[in-house]
């Protein structure tokens, strides 16, 4: 049995009778009341997620001279202070070591937020690409993270944490005080709704969790609902939809890659862009309520062409939705696909992302 890590909210999850399961080396809440009810709450009100498992690193130093500018697929120098940017850490073959968000805290200071399972390896790789005297510190253990997501999240946050948060635009953050401690409140998320990620000292996480949950507009949501929410938006889940063998070119995520700058993996991406990737990501919508699932086979005109990497029943669309990788000839919009696993079989059609377009994300 692997040794699972626990977030500072174990007692709270236990009190709420959450269904707990391992995720990325952590014991995490999958659901409280029910996955679909929590999903709906996030689409209609404000859902609170324990995201303390994610990793946070702090970089201090000169971004160019310290080597950070060449680490990711996007320019860190180009991020204005107070803004954040999403992109990738690649291996030399162009495969995705992790997807992450960089927060520009100051001219010479950034916070890097990474996935839980990949955090230790990310840290080693990022550190190995830096030059002294720049410093990279893993601040995951002392950093708590709560996500408040949903159309009512702004009014809830303004009421409990301060009116200045109401003006925060999409992908901007502010360094503020929460419960008397230094904190970062960022207008980012993984749900497609208006929402915030709150970084604060881990010792204060439980207090903020309880304060926000007292508000009748707020309900807790687990990783089950989070997975449905992100899939309806077509957001990739690291380990499913992207990994070390998949490049941002194959994943259709070149919008987060700046080829005008240097980064590890760039040569491989340029080459792949020229030759075309062997398999490409597609999004598809199932004709029925059946759920495609990870590892289900994808067929086109009777022949195997690929594999599902994420799939679920979409409560907003009332049908199955999924993403996967297929041979390029089966990837055009409108292509008919068959998804198959043992006795389960469903018909689907290649569609554009996002699946769900009614969210309050940019409200």
């Amino acid at each position: 049995m692997e040794d699972l890590k626990a977030t500072p909210l174990q007692a709270q999850h236990e009190g709420l009778k959450a269904l707990m399961a391992p995720f990325g080396g952590w014991l995490m809440p999958i659901q409280y009341e029910g996955i679909i009810a929590e999903h709906r709450w996030c689409r209609e009100k404000a859902a609170l997620f324990d995201i303390c498992h994610m990793g946070e690193f702090r970089f201090r130093g000169d971004i160019q001279a310290g080597g950070l500018e060449d680490v990711f697929t996007f320019s860190v120098k180009g991020i204005p202070v107070g803004r954040s940017r999403y992109g990738f850490l690649l291996n030399p073959s162009g495969g995705v070591i992790d997807d992450l968000i960089v927060f520009r805290l100051a001219e010479d200071e950034v916070m890097i937020v990474v996935n839980a399972a990949t955090a230790p390896n990310d840290f080693k790789i990022i550190a190995s690409r830096l030059k002294e005297p720049a410093q990279l510190v893993d601040i995951s253990a002392q950093t708590g993270k709560l996500d408040l997501q949903g159309p009512l999240s702004r009014e809830v946050l303004v009421e409990h944490l301060g009116s200045e948060l109401g003006a925060l635009p999409f992908f901007k953050f502010t360094r503020t005080r929460v419960l008397g401690e230094d904190a970062i409140v960022s207008r980012t998320g993984y749900t497609g709704e208006l929402g915030y990620e709150i970084f604060l000292p881990s010792g204060k996480t439980a207090e903020l969790w309880e304060l926000l949950l007292k508000d009748p507009r707020v309900a807790p949501a687990g990783l089950g609902a989070r997975d449905l929410l992100r899939l309806e938006m077509g957001y990739s889940l690291y380990g499913n939809d992207i990994d070390e063998k998949i490049s941002p070119v194959a994943a259709g995520l070149t919008a987060f890659v700046n080829l005008d700058k240097n980064f590890v993996g760039k040569d491989a991406l340029l080459k792949e862009r020229e030759t075309g990737p062997e398999n490409v990501k597609v999004a598809f919508r199932v004709d029925s309520r059946r759920s495609p699932r990870h590892f289900y086979e994808i067929l086109h005109q009777g022949a195997p062409v690929g594999m599902v990497t994420s799939g679920a029943f979409s409560p907003m669309l009332s049908c199955g939705i999924g993403m996967g990788y297929v041979k390029p000839e089966a990837a055009a919009l409108g292509t008919r696909l068959t998804i198959k696993h043992e006795r389960v079989e469903m018909e689907a059609q290649v569609v554009e992302l996002p699946f769900y377009t009614g969210g309050s994300l940019r409200a």
Binding site: G34, S288, R289, R290, A312, F313
Partner: protein
């Protein structure tokens, strides 16, 4: 009539000459939010413990086995658009189908409610 259960968590209840079939409340709870029920075709003949239907939840896809042999006489077509009825009442309004041509002696191979409750305790 009383309900009888399989160890795979289906239930069956005789109603005259027909058998009403569903999944147990325990199974529905374990599956979580049910999103799809693959109803059997009317007229399909099944042997006891053969695959009868399918059910999908947010978490998993599972087969439903025939608790007794018979021919599908009727299906609960409300489940096509409202599979959540199984979560709301797995052993009542969330029934799956009715079988005809049933041999009631096959019920002897199943668990009665008390035996099923005891079986669940041991899981």
């Amino acid at each position: 009539m009383a309900k009888f259960f399989t160890k795979e968590h289906e239930w069956v209840e005789m109603d005259g000459a027909q058998a009403i079939v569903g999944i147990s409340e325990h199974a529905a709870h374990e599956l979580g939010d049910i999103t799809f029920v693959e109803l059997p075709k009317i007229g399909k003949s099944v042997k006891q413990f053969d695959t009868l239907a399918g059910i999908e939840s947010v978490k998993a896809a599972s087969d439903i086995y025939a608790p007794v042999s018979g021919k599908v006489a009727q299906v609960n077509d409300k489940l096509e658009d409202a599979p959540e009825l199984v979560n709301q009442g797995a052993e009542s309004e969330g029934w799956i189908c009715r079988l005809e041509g049933v041999d009631a002696s096959e019920l002897g191979a199943l668990l009665d409610a008390a035996a099923y409750a005891k079986y669940l305790e041991g899981l």
